[in-house]
Symmetry: C2
Subunit: 419 residues, 2 copies
């Protein structure tokens, strides 16, 4: 009887699977992104939305038409520099996007999820004009793989471009980048998203991807947060600098895919967030030398369904302060300290790419904490716009800015109080 | 330096708190529901929405104006009976809501989150016309509390109405309930949401609330799933029927607030879902005698911020197959087996009340599983309608029906393929 019931289910699921062309499932396969659903277009006029505390907001499209914008920074004169993952740096000059990219960007290997990523300014930018960029640097070609076996089909592939995550430092001369120099180049093959932030200690913190391997290998740069001097050298007070078998740049271990990194304005602590696979996105407050557990522990499932870890816990590893099940594909983090949106003061904002559902169902999350940095609740914002949010920052005007992820029409949005 | 930074944070949060009248926070307090945001009104015309696999759906308001509708069932002639939490049973007769409630409903103590809740039919309804209802039954007044101390302010309260969760069985005579009889009355004080479903074994499974206490007490009916014969007596094959110290009706233990209960159409297993406090909603597949851990384990936080459990795991307890962080306030469950919405065949649907954000930001969640009942992904549906979803069912017409929760304008919605 029981067997009959299970068989009936299998038949049911098989029938369902055969009816679904776009999302294979019921076969233990990895679900693929759906398609054919039109995204919600960017609005021509500002949009207004209610929010949970009765604070009505207005969302303005400041600039659009960018190619996969990834990170943004304000210059002291109020102009902005915005990276495009495809390898260009754009300038917003007096509120208008300059059609000509900024000159001087190093050669970037853009592909997959990588490319020109973070941009950040040196804490003494006013005096030294140093700008930092993270990107996958071409390292030369690996030997071509063996030709396909006879009858295997398909043309032989050429040599594979090898890359390594690099941190470039350049000088901003007012119109272009000059004196570009790679201050740090990770081990060949290390990649993934690389957010960067300067801590209050003047050190540069850099995330590296650890989806596939290396996150628990202390000698690998993969799946870590690295801590560097502003010239790319190793700080002698790094936690593992005297530990045999550790890469000396390692600050924290056990990260998967870190798309958010910021300094808490109250405590100075480094907040990092990373994406789990099928559930298990998390925010961590970094502790020197801490291990955050990937891929040994997680609160998420793998894409084909089984849990990532046999035990759903963070036993023996640092515990996130926030996690998401299901995933939101978190990208970007901002701590709001302004007065223009007073109900949000003290709150944390995280962008969401939210892949795997309708294309462009990303949104912006607001997270409220109590004094002990314990989460009270979350609010989903901009859901109606259905834009993938790549980055979120507070501007010098005390308004909130987000970048939307789109290969051809990425936009800079400004969130302000509705009049 | 560090102390200064922390102090600055406290000042920042205190300032933020003082600016927020509607949502106390930053004080370790429990956040209260926001208000002042207009809900999205029910549409006059059918709405159409895209969904993730390119299956466009149309949502039709079948009936509205109900008072907190809670559960629904179809009679063999296609008419529907819908409970209102406020204590009435409504009939949808040939697609039109009868303005006169059905006669014969027992006296219900409606208040807080309780009232007339589940309605379900006996598996042999066609021959015996038995209808089952769950509700808090008045048990008589408890002694009045001591009068307030002199100068304590406030008027003395009268006697407190005591209740107990009851399961009533009645006969449907074609227009009203007759021969109403309480087949089971739980221990006095046991309440909470009480979903009910008949298993393939012909037994009636009943959930009870365990938010505050009793969920781990085997002698208490609170925080359990109970298993009863169709006449309310105890099945002699219940797991603890011969265990000293156990209430013999107990089927599973350690539940918090169960708002969903259903029989999987493939396996016959009982699927139950319950709400965590601040995160930690979960779906469980019930195992005879299983303990699901509340309040010892959870993946959620308490409302004021601290984690519910010192360890975020389900060590030593049954592990949910799905959980949500943050909470969606899950209510209702349906397994779609129809052909009218072919891309959804084999999927699980869960309603979401989603309290704590903008009022009425509830939605419907669709969850896809692989053959091993491992989750592949979730899709949020009807988000734009911003309705709190109380229940979801598949109709005999192979379409999906949901009830929206509203004190005066609760609605029955039908989801069908867009033409």
């Amino acid at each position: 009887m029981r067997l009959v019931a299970v068989c009936a289910l299998v038949v049911l699921l098989t029938a369902a699977g055969s009816a679904q062309q776009t999302v294979p499932r019921g076969r233990g396969g990895v679900p693929v992104a759906p398609n054919g659903i039109p995204a919600v277009p960017l609005p021509d006029k500002p949009l207004e939305f209610p929010t949970a505390e009765g604070q009505k907001i207005r969302v303005v499209v400041v600039a659009r038409g960018m190619s996969s914008p990834w990170s943004m920074v304000w210059l002291p004169d109020g102009d902005m520099l915005i990276t495009q993952r495809t390898g260009q740096l754009r300038r917003l000059r007096k509120g208008v996007l300059d059609p000509t990219p900024v000159a001087g960007v190093p050669e970037v290997v853009a592909g997959g999820l990588g490319g020109l990523m973070e941009i950040t300014l040196h804490p003494q930018f006013a005096t030294n004009q140093f700008v930092y960029l993270s990107y996958p640097k071409p390292i030369g070609a690996a030997p071509a793989p063996a030709p396909p076996a006879p009858g295997g089909g398909g043309a032989g592939r050429g040599p594979v471009q090898q890359t390594a995550l690099a941190v470039a430092r350049a000088r901003w001369n007012g119109t272009a980048l000059t004196d570009v120099k790679d201050t740090f180049v990770a081990q060949t093959g290390v990649g993934g998203p690389a957010r960067m932030v300067f801590g209050r200690d003047g050190k540069l913190y850099v995330t590296t991807g650890g989806v596939n391997s290396g996150a628990q290998d202390p000698s690998s740069h993969a799946g870590k947060v690295l801590r560097l001097n502003d010239d790319g050298s190793v700080p002698q007070d790094n936690p593992f600098v005297k530990h045999a078998g550790y890469a000396p740049e390692v600050y924290t271990l056990g990260h998967r895919s870190s798309l958010g990194l910021g300094v808490h304005p109250g405590t100075g602590e480094i907040w990092q967030h990373e994406n789990g696979p099928n559930g298990g996105d998390e925010i961590n407050i970094l502790k020197t030398g801490g291990n955050y557990g990937w891929p040994i522990v997680s609160y998420g499932r793998t894409y084909p369904g089984p849990w990532q870890a046999p035990k759903l816990s963070h036993d023996n590893f640092e515990q996130p302060i926030v996690f998401w099940v299901p995933s939101i594909a978190a990208s970007g983090i901002a701590f709001y300290t302004g007065n223009k949106l007073p109900k949000w003061k003290g709150d944390v904002f995280v962008g969401a790419l939210r892949v795997g559902e309708i294309p462009g169902t990303g949104h912006l999350q607001r997270i409220l904490f109590n004094e002990q940095m314990e989460e009270l609740r979350r609010e989903s914002l901009l859901t109606e716009m259905r834009q993938r949010i790549r980055d979120v920052r507070q501007g010098p005007d005390e308004l909130i800015y987000v970048l939307t992820d789109s290969p051809k029409d990425g936009a800079l949005l400004r969130i302000e109080p509705a009049p």
